[in-house]
């Protein structure tokens, strides 16, 4: 087990080297392609190897880095959970490393490649450190480094005021979340004896303190993961970063927050309570549903994808909530099922969201447009990107035989075991959450029909879309890797559930009893009688049915197709403006779910007498939660402001008073 840890340390070194090497990239842009990206890729390959090694040979490896406080060196630890997340970082990072050189060409001469390379390298380093950390101190340092590095990446194109605002909101919320996590660790450390995770594991935290620690951790990690209602930063910050960084943020950084939550609740906190699980389940279900509904209303491609991250994180937390409910009720085998479903969705989301952000980056690169209303017909001009993007769309819409379906299927199976629970309320609550999950999945499919239909199909809606060109080989390869991984995880789920099974073994002391009892062809999460799914056979049968239909028709009398004009009702030919727009496509859904949005809609005539339709859909949570909190903070600030006389001696007086009070307190 030490070998994977050495590999991971090697990856850390390579990532740091990549960051350092980037410092010289402004003078020699070649360096970015020849050294910085390859080193980044090497680091990710090492991480992937370390992660797979750790999952194949479960065990625990430890190391200590001579950093940090004199009496508390940084403890590192690699176990099955950490290994899983290392592998996840590695696979997405590898695709990003292939993609980045081509994408960064855009920034040469205009932006600083050194800043990009430096902070991307540091970003990777910090995420790996978070996953490996084995004491609260190292964890928090790495966590803050992760927030800072990603802040600089969000504000990379800082000439735009909107980007700076998004960055500030992001940093603010990240810090509030970090504060909550710190307090959560504080509770655990106070009850245990020290900041090392081992000490926290040993401490028995129960009752009110345990609940307090859970609430703090749920708030902090939930904020970073983008759960509703703490998601406001996510759709602002993710889209404005360079696309391959968006892929890393959405695909990987959110998963690091999920990692933190799992580590905190399942590993450190110990005894699970049903009520925590219910809270996680409900918040997850609401996040999933609201995330997809808001996503449907967007027509900025990257912003839409960012809202889908809220949705998918919600689905992951539904799985985690089920695991917590079952664990609290004393069904470890079912808890293992929920946990495996959540982890499977975690890796799936990393893959397809990474893929979709890279695809969106390619579209941006080719057309310099983010607004879907100005795209169309790109499939003919960018055939490879179009193909890979389609794979991503099918995967995220949870359609068989791709990977998103497998994890949602596992989540449904976990939810359907609710009949085992004693409590009638839980028995009825869990299927309702499952129905919300079903609604989410169907709406996600609607959303991606819109995305793909408006962006890649139909006729081009603007000149840039008409003149787009296919992206470079490296960028296509980056997307191809992820698309292949999506298919692989969809068609051969038994291998990966087998690998994932080590994690519940570590955290719950329980493996999935019969996940692969029927051999590699059959995925049977509970037992063969209850449910079975054979993805390889489904894939083969789908291919066979397609081939049979095509073969039968090839032999038919008429083989060729004839090209003709589209049906125009006998009037003038169709123009691109006659197509359904992204906004028009979502209109029925906007109307049905209207009360959930704040819609501003108006019609006016401009100077030329043409009708102008203006439509803005806002997040209701802004007015319900964020603005009141913001106003309260301002009021508190003004009140505190009265203390500010401007006279230095008054400040010194306050200092004296505080010192006195503290001394009195400890005496």
């Amino acid at each position: 087990m030490t070998a994977p840890l050495s590999l991971a340390l090697g990856a850390l070194a390579a990532a740091l080297l990549s960051a350092v090497a980037a410092l010289a990239a402004d003078e020699r842009p070649m360096l970015f392609r020849a050294l910085v990206s390859p080193l980044f890729g090497l680091a990710c390959a090492l991480l992937l190897a370390a992660g797979l090694g750790g999952l194949l040979h479960p065990g625990v490896a430890r190391a200590t880095l001579p950093l940090g406080l004199p009496w508390l060196h940084w403890h590192l630890r690699l176990d099955a959970l950490a290994a899983f997340f290392l592998a996840l970082i590695g696979v997405v990072g590898l695709a990003v490393a292939l993609y980045a050189p081509g994408y960064a060409r855009e920034f040469e001469k205009r932006e600083s490649l050194a800043v990009l390379g430096l902070f991307t390298g540091l970003f990777l380093t910090s995420m790996v450190l978070v996953v490996l950390a084995d004491d609260a101190f190292a964890f928090m340092v790495a966590w803050e480094l992760m927030s800072l590095a990603s802040y600089f990446l969000v504000t990379f194109q800082h000439e735009h005021g909107a980007n700076r605002r998004a960055g500030f909101l992001y940093l603010l919320m990240a810090e509030i979340g970090a504060l909550a996590i710190l307090l959560g660790f504080g509770v655990l450390a106070g009850l245990g004896d020290g900041f090392a995770f081992d000490a926290m594991r040993r401490a028995a935290v129960g009752g009110g303190w345990g609940t307090l620690a859970f609430v703090l951790a749920f708030f902090g990690f939930g904020m970073k993961a983008g759960l509703v209602p703490l998601h406001a930063w996510l759709p602002e910050a993710h889209p404005v970063a360079p696309s391959h960084v968006s892929a890393l943020m959405s695909g990987v950084m959110l998963k690091v927050a999920v990692y933190g939550f799992i580590r905190f609740c399942f590993d450190l906190l110990g005894d699970m309570q049903i009520s925590w699980g219910v809270a996680v389940l409900v918040v997850g279900a609401v996040s999933a549903l609201l995330g997809v509904l808001y996503a449907l209303m967007q027509h900025d491609l990257k912003r839409l994808l960012a809202y889908h991250s809220v949705e998918n994180v919600g689905i992951i937390f539904i799985g985690l909530g089920l695991a917590m409910v079952f664990a609290g009720a004393g069904f470890p085998a079912l808890a293992a099922l929920g946990l495996v479903a959540a982890l499977y969705h975690t890796i799936n989301h990393a893959l397809f969201k990474g893929l979709l952000f890279l695809g969106a980056g390619s579209v941006l690169h080719a057309t310099h447009q983010r607004d879907m209303e100005r795209m169309g017909g790109l499939l003919k001009l960018l055939p490879w990107t179009g193909l890979f993007f389609l794979v991503g769309c099918i995967s995220i819409s949870a359609l068989p035989p791709f990977n998103g379906f497998v994890s949602e299927w596992l989540t449904f199976q976990a939810a359907l075991q609710a009949w085992a629970l004693e409590n009638g309320i839980l028995r009825s609550l869990i299927p309702v959450t499952a129905a919300m999950l079903a609604l989410t999945g169907a709406l996600a499919a609607a959303c991606f029909v819109k995305v793909y239909g408006v962006t890649f199909l139909g006729q081009p809606r603007s000149t840039p879309a008409r003149k787009a060109h296919e992206v470079s080989f490296g960028m296509r390869a980056g997307q191809g890797v992820l698309a292949a991984a999506c298919l692989l995880l969809g068609v051969l789920p038994t291998f990966f559930t087998g690998l994932l099974d080590t994690v519940p073994g570590l955290l719950l002391g329980q493996h999935l009893p019969q996940a692969t009892a029927g051999g590699w062809l059959w995925l049977t999460p509970v037992n063969a009688h209850t449910a079975s799914y054979s993805a390889p056979l489904v894939f083969a049968a789908l291919a066979l049915a397609w081939w049979l239909a095509a073969w039968a028709l090839r032999r038919g009398a008429v083989r060729q197709v004839r090209r003709c004009d589209a049906w125009d009702c006998g009037f003038s030919p169709l123009t691109p403006r006659m197509q359904y727009s992204a906004t028009g496509f979502a209109q029925p859904i906007r109307r049905v779910f209207g009360p959930l949005f704040r819609i501003e809609e108006s019609m006016s005539r401009d100077e030329e007498g043409l009708l102008r339709h203006r439509l803005q859909v806002h997040d209701r949570l802004w007015e319900w939660l964020y603005l009141p909190v913001g106003r309260a903070a301002l009021r508190a600030g003004r009140w505190v402001g009265h203390l500010q006389g401007g006279n230095a001696r008054i400040y010194l007086g306050w200092t004296l008073a505080t010192l006195g009070a503290l001394l009195w307190l400890i005496s």
Partner: protein
Amino acid sequence: MNAMAPPLLGQSLLLLAALTLFLSFALLGQTRLTAAIHQFAWQGAMVAAVTALVAAGEGARHLYLSALLTLGLKSLLIPWMLHRLARRLEMEREVERLHHPAVLLLAGTVLVVFAYWVALPIERIGGHASRNILAISLAVVLIGLWMMVGRRQVVAQVLGFMSLENGLFLAAVAAARGMPLVVELGVAFDVLVAAILFGIFFFHISESIESLDVDRLNRLSEEETE
């Protein structure tokens, strides 16, 4: 249910109770007056059928009488009166516009779960079948009340009140095998009188404010009306 299916009588009881609950939902979401009155009539018939079945199962004579009474009163007489009233007020085709029908109905399902939760600790009053029917009847009561809260039209409110009474009656039949006949007669008479009184009120309300929307009845003092 899984190990041993209850006999046909018990199953029919459950089925009828579930249908009563469903009709409560149908009433809650129904915006057309005529259809709502029909649904109320059907709900009365369901309750009557439950009573008759309990009577057959228990061999309790007096329950047959109250089943007949329920059938006659709640599924024939009162609906007929309401129909006549609707005709005379010329509101047969009136459709009330609900603001959030989905929210109204989903809140109803929450009430069902709540009623179930409340009924859970009640110890067995003779088999858990009757406890479950108790849960259903409690849900019918709550939904009836919720209907009076959530709907603005006066007739809908009256129907809500009547279906609330149906729920109470169902509970009495299921849990206590019916009330004493005297009480039952009294209640039935009360309901009838209430229906008549409501009818008279409708006339007066619709004459004085030319609408049957209760949201327009919220001025308390007379001076402001000018």
